[in-house]
C-alpha cells in the first residue's frame, strides 16, 4: 500500500453522501435533483448542501431550468470532478486491496 494512494484521497469525497453523490453523477450525463435525491435516499436540504459544496469545489455543475412551468434542477459532474473522483476511487481500491 502506497503513500501516494493515501495522498490521492480527496477530502471532498470522504463523506459517504458526497461519495455516493459523485458515484451517481459519474454514471450519467446528467440527472434531475428529485431522482438523485431518491437514489441517495436523503433529504432535499442535505442534497442541496452537499451538491452546493461540490459545485463550489468545481466538481459538480448545477443547471436550473423549466419544463413547462415546473422548475427543474439538473446536476452533472465537471471534467475536473470526474477526474478527481476517478483518482479518489482508484486510491480507495489501492488502499483496500488484499483486505
Amino acid at each position: 500500500m502506497s503513500a501516494t494512494a493515501r495522498q490521492n484521497l480527496n477530502d471532498q469525497f470522504t463523506n459517504p453522501i458526497r461519495l455516493s453523490l459523485m458515484a451517481s453523477l459519474a454514471g450519467v450525463d446528467e440527472i434531475d435533483f428529485k431522482s438523485l435525491k431518491e437514489v441517495l435516499d436523503i433529504s432535499d436540504s442535505a442534497l442541496s448542501k452537499h451538491s452546493t459544496a461540490l459545485e463550489e469545489a468545481g466538481y459538480v455543475r448545477i443547471r436550473k431550468g423549466y419544463v413547462g412551468k415546473r422548475p427543474r434542477t439538473w446536476l452533472s459532474t465537471s471534467e475536473e470532478g470526474r477526474a478527481a473522483f476517478t483518482e479518489h476511487v482508484a486510491a480507495l481500491r489501492e488502499l483496500t486491496a488484499g483486505i
Binding site: 494512494a5 484521497l9 459517504p16 455516493s20 451517481s24 454514471g27 450525463d29 419544463v67 480507495l92
Partner: protein
C-alpha cells in the same frame, strides 16, 4: 487531500457506500437508456416520414392533403419532444453525445434525400418508405447503442 491510515475502515466504508450508490443508480440508468432509445426511434421515424409524405401526398397533385399531413407531422414532432423533456429524469452516460451524432447523421441523409426528390423521375411510395428507413437508421442506432 487526506492522510487516512492504510486500509482503514474508512476506506472500506467509502467503497461500500460507492457500491451501494452504483446499485441504486442502476434502475435510473436503465430507465433513462430505454427512454432515450425510444425517443430517438420515434424521432428518427418521424424524420424519415418527412421524406415519405411528399411521395404519398404529392403537393403538385393534392396540396390540401399534403399540408394536412405536414401539420400532423409537426404536431407529432412537438408532442414527442414535449413528452421526452417532461418525462426525462436523467441522461444516460454518453447519451447526449450519441443523440447529437445520430441526429446530425440522420439530417445529413435527409438532406441527401432532398436531392433525390428534386430528380425528374419521382419515387414511388414504397421506395420513398425504404429511403425514409435509411434516413432514420443512424438516429435509431445511436439511441439503442450501448457502451461496451
Amino acid at each position: 487531500m487526506s492522510g487516512r491510515p492504510e486500509g482503514s475502515p474508512g476506506a472500506e466504508a467509502q467503497l461500500s457506500a460507492l457500491r451501494g450508490a452504483e446499485a441504486r443508480l442502476a434502475g435510473v440508468q436503465e430507465q433513462s437508456r430505454r427512454r432515450l432509445a425510444w425517443f430517438c426511434t420515434a424521432l428518427a421515424l418521424l424524420i424519415g416520414a418527412a421524406h415519405v409524405i411528399p411521395a404519398v401526398f404529392r403537393p403538385d397533385v393534392m396540396l390540401p392533403a399534403f399540408l394536412t399531413a405536414m401539420g400532423v407531422y409537426v404536431v407529432a414532432v412537438l408532442a414527442l419532444t414535449w413528452w421526452y423533456l417532461r418525462t426525462r429524469t436523467a441522461t444516460p452516460l454518453g447519451g447526449g453525445r450519441r443523440y447529437l451524432i445520430g441526429l446530425m447523421a440522420t439530417f445529413a441523409l435527409y438532406a441527401v434525400s432532398m436531392l433525390l426528390m428534386a430528380l425528374p423521375s419521382r419515387e414511388s411510395w414504397p421506395v420513398a418508405a425504404l429511403v425514409g428507413l435509411v434516413i432514420a437508421a443512424p438516429l435509431v442506432i445511436a439511441g439503442w447503442w450501448r457502451r461496451s
